[in-house]
């Protein structure tokens, strides 16, 4: 134990290591605070939905009820959906700053609504967020380099290496002690603030331990790299320079190169094409016989086929039917678009096995449910909810049941969908 205490004293006497460790802890705490405040802001925005929605829907319900037409209510009523941040989201904000976490939809064609974004400042999103994942993936390796680049070469340059190797429990054991000690401090500077923030946010123990384990593994990767470079017996300066170059390549250059190659290998152009095709299909309905649309709609949805025939004047059930037919006509493109996105995501994840920086980022955003998969899962929930909205309003439109003010309270609520899933 005495030897450990001795090493500890040596480590804490070096100004560079103390400054580095304190700085890392401060940066970690700042990143956690930034992540927590962003997540709190998003939660507050979600918590504010019911009040503002009540005001909005109340005004619409009042005059829609006067007409008694369920189509009017369905056309003008926007229903909110939201994607609440997971307890761990503060650690890796992932896509949550560029993809919407609140989206209001109406029972009209979904393909013209589901790709909408929210307001965000692109210049602020461009450099990426300052969160725990950033500190771990980008900054922590620099601290490993600062603490490990001269682990052995420093002693050699000071002329002490041979003496240390000759000491009892010197040599390999000494380097082990020093390595473990430095690792422990780095891990604590990262992990302790994180663990406190995780407990405070109610992250379950499994996810917390997983993040801690990932952090430890990532630190060990860089320590191993520093050790490998150290074996070349270069000077401390050369070690530091080559490690920093490795950092540059592994953390900045290779991921950007891979990004270019993945986006080139898996082209995604269909996004705007879906929107164009769906619009064409929807608007075409005005130029073809209405019965043609209804036949197509009833063929897919026989449950409404016994609805009375269309009157000569405008009827909303036809309007909503052609919107749904428009959605269904682009189902293949939607599927292809999604597959391409998933392919890009999979390729990047696969790269994570070779590039630890990418792997850690992918793992953290997965655990925090802030990655593309979570975005797509949110879109799935929107689709399911939209299906409920259609069913609800069709129940009035296709059965010619009047829609009163009280009926708008019976409309599906996104919260119920989330509760059903839970």
């Amino acid at each position: 134990m005495g030897l450990w205490r001795h090493e500890l004293r040596l480590l804490l006497r070096a100004r560079l290591s103390v400054v580095a460790l304190v700085l890392l802890a401060v940066l970690t705490i700042a990143a956690l605070a930034a992540g927590l405040s962003e997540v709190a802001r998003q939660r507050a925005a979600i918590a504010a939905i019911p009040a503002s929605q009540a005001e909005d829907i109340g005004a619409i319900a009042a005059w829609a009820a006067e007409t008694g037409d369920p189509g009017t209510a369905a056309y003008y009523s926007f229903h909110p959906t939201w994607d609440a941040p997971s307890p761990l989201a503060f650690a890796a904000l992932g896509m949550r700053d560029v993809a919407p976490y609140i989206l209001r939809v109406r029972a009209l064609g979904l393909e013209a609504q589901i790709y909408d974004g929210d307001t965000f400042n692109p210049e602020l999103a461009l450099p990426g967020r300052f969160d725990f994942a950033f500190v771990l993936v980008f900054l922590a390796p620099l601290f490993v380099i600062a603490l490990f680049h001269d682990l052995i070469s420093g002693e050699r340059e000071a002329g002490r290496q041979r003496m240390l190797a000759a000491l009892p429990r010197g040599g390999a054991q000494l380097w082990q002690r020093r390595t473990v000690l430095r690792f422990a401090f780095l891990w604590t500077a990262l992990g302790l603030p994180f663990a406190i923030a995780a407990i405070f946010s109610g992250v379950d123990a499994g996810a917390t331990l997983a993040v801690l384990a990932v952090s430890a593994a990532y630190l060990w990767f860089w320590i191993a790299l520093a050790w490998l470079v150290g074996r070349l017996r270069w000077s401390s300066v050369a070690n530091a320079a080559s490690l920093a170059a490795c950092w540059l390549v592994l953390v900045l250059v290779l991921p950007t190169l891979a990004h270019v190659s993945i986006n080139r290998a898996v082209p995604v152009n269909q996004g705007a094409e879906i929107a164009l095709a769906q619009r064409e299909m929807v608007n075409r309905a005005w130029d073809i016989p209405r019965d043609e649309t209804m036949r197509r709609f009833y063929a897919k949805h026989p449950e409404w086929a016994d609805s009375p025939p269309l009157p000569p004047e405008f009827h909303y059930k036809w309007y909503f039917a052609f919107h749904q037919v428009g959605d269904e006509s682009v189902a293949d493109e939607v599927e292809a678009y999604r597959t391409a996105l998933e392919q890009r995501d999979r390729a990047a994840r696969g790269l994570g096995w070779a590039l630890p920086s990418v792997g850690v980022q992918a793992l953290l955003t997965r655990l925090a449910e802030t990655d593309l998969q979570s975005q797509l899962a949110y879109q799935d929930r929107i689709r399911a909810f939209h299906q409920r909205l259609r069913q609800f309003y069709y129940g009035y439109m296709f059965r010619d049941r009047p829609f009163g003010e009280a009926d708008s309270d019976r409309a599906p609520h996104f919260k119920d969908l989330l509760d059903d899933a839970a």
Binding site: A125, F138, L252, V260, A272, D287, A348, V358
Partner: protein
């Protein structure tokens, strides 16, 4: 040869002998070339794709059959943001903003299908462009090549020897500056060659390109001076390296990420739901076109009847429903403009905050300079959004006027089986509607946007030179 040139020559020879340095330099040049080529071809293919989609959307619009004008208001039009030639050098926020927009009546849609939501998580690691290489990677290479330039000499005592031989301090420092400056020039050269290739593209602008070249030259020169400065100030070359890498990490990696978080927290942005609901609320307060007794629309009707000197809307020479649509669109659009203006102002405040923090990080200043001159910053996106809104308003109002003049009120309100045909106007009208033509900003206005960033970069350079001249005077005293 004078002593300065000799020292520069000697320093360069040392660098060339350092195999790792040479490999790193070659790799950087290769990286720049790959970046220049890939972002040039990316810019070309994106520009081509958007042009193709734009013309497909225009053809679809023109090919519409006879339709009621209000149907066309909802059929709307798709527009695609064109990508300027300088985006090949610095695409800026292009990947982070939607690049297509659906324009229709009484709604303001968001720009959708940005790359950031269509790419893997790698997009958040940065984008491989010449701008990225010069902003982020090149300074680190210069640090590796130059951290020891003076620290090494004082560490080994060779600085004293030089001075004993009668070399002036200033000559030593200038020699080191010249050597590292030459490397910086070589580092920047491939990107500038790529830049010249872009200059051959139509629409490329000389003034903003000059500002970009000047800005990057100033930025790399700043790093050269900073490196020699730190190397002069510390006693050991290892300390110089660690201090410089730390400086680089803070200025280039850390602050650009922290600044947006500060701006985000300091200036809140209304989200879309809040804005939509606020617009709906304001609209209800202004006038409710669905309410027959609404005072605003009753007054509008009264005014209209008086203007045409008739007693009922049926007697009007124009279609009252079209006039109502024009008035309604005027109301909603005024609100769109107001709320969009508030949001733009808030975002501009956020960006100003980031620029203020940029006083402490030349990398932030250079980034904003570069994007502003390339026209790919927030202001460039806003320019597109504002032109899109102006076009949307003009198109919708043309269609509304067409409804007022081309469809009679009696046809428009009829529900008999033949009414649908009578409500339609001839398809030749669609072809006559103007197409969206993005008015690219002038070179002077792009250059003006880049000036604050340029001032910060050059200011840093001046301060660093001042500090270096002071450090030079005390060189070798310890």
């Amino acid at each position: 040869m004078n002593p300065t040139a000799l020292i520069a020559h000697d320093e360069l020879r040392l660098m060339v002998r350092n195999r790792i340095a040479v490999i790193a330099f070659v790799l950087l040049v290769l990286l720049t070339l790959v970046a220049a080529l890939s972002s040039w071809s990316h810019q070309r293919s994106v520009a081509e794709l958007r042009a193709r989609q734009q013309s497909a959307a225009e053809q679809a619009f023109d090919a519409q059959p006879d339709r009621h004008p209000h149907r066309v208001v909802h059929y709307g039009n798709f527009i695609f943001r064109p990508l300027g030639p300088l985006a090949a050098f610095d695409p800026g926020v292009d990947a982070f903003t939607g690049n297509s927009m659906f324009l229709e009546g009484h709604r303001q849609n968001t720009a959708n299908f940005g790359d950031v939501r269509q790419s893997s998580l790698l997009v958040r690691f940065g984008q491989l462009t010449p701008a990225f290489v010069l902003q982020v990677v090149a300074p680190l290479l210069l640090i590796f090549l130059g951290y020891g330039s003076l620290a090494r000499e004082s560490e080994r005592g060779t600085l004293r020897l030089l001075m004993l031989q009668g070399v002036m301090r200033g000559q030593v420092v200038r020699g080191k500056l010249a050597a590292l400056g030459l490397v910086a020039l070589l580092v920047g050269l491939p990107a500038m060659i790529g830049f010249v290739a872009i200059a051959g593209q139509p629409g490329a602008l000389l003034l903003p390109m000059g500002i970009i070249a000047l800005g990057y030259a100033g930025y790399l020169a700043l790093w050269v001076v900073l490196i020699v400065l730190i190397s002069a100030l510390v006693r050991r070359s290892r300390d110089a390296l660690l201090a410089l890498v730390a400086l680089w990490a803070v200025a280039v990696v850390l602050l650009p990420r922290v600044a947006p978080d500060i701006a985000n927290a300091a200036v809140p942005l209304a989200n879309r739901m809040q804005t939509d609901i606020a617009i709906a609320r304001d609209l209800r307060q202004m006038g409710d076109s669905h309410n027959p007794d609404d005072p605003f629309f009753t007054a509008f009707k009264q005014r209209t009847l008086e203007r045409y000197d008739v007693a009922t809307v049926e007697e009007l020479p124009v279609n009252y429903k079209g006039l109502l649509a024009v008035e309604g669109e005027r109301l909603t659009s005024s609100l769109f403009d107001r709320y969009a203006g508030e949001s733009y102002a808030a975002q501009a405040r956020q960006n100003a905050l980031v620029q203020a923090i940029g006083l402490f990080s030349p990398a932030i200043a250079l980034r904003s300079l570069s994007m502003a001159a390339a026209g790919t910053d927030f202001a460039g996106h806003r320019r597109f959004l504002e032109q899109a809104e102006a076009y949307r308003y003009d198109l919708v109002q043309r269609l509304n006027r067409l409804q007022a003049e081309g469809v009679t009120y009696s046809d428009d309100t009829a529900i008999d089986p033949g009414a649908d045909q009578r409500k339609r106007v001839d398809a030749e009208h669609w072809d006559a509607m103007p197409e969206f033509a993005y008015a690219a900003p002038s070179g002077a206005s792009l250059a003006t946007g880049a000036l604050p960033g340029l001032a910060v970069v050059l200011g840093w350079l001046a301060v660093a030179l001042l500090l270096l001249s002071r450090a030079t005077r005390r060189l070798g005293e310890r």
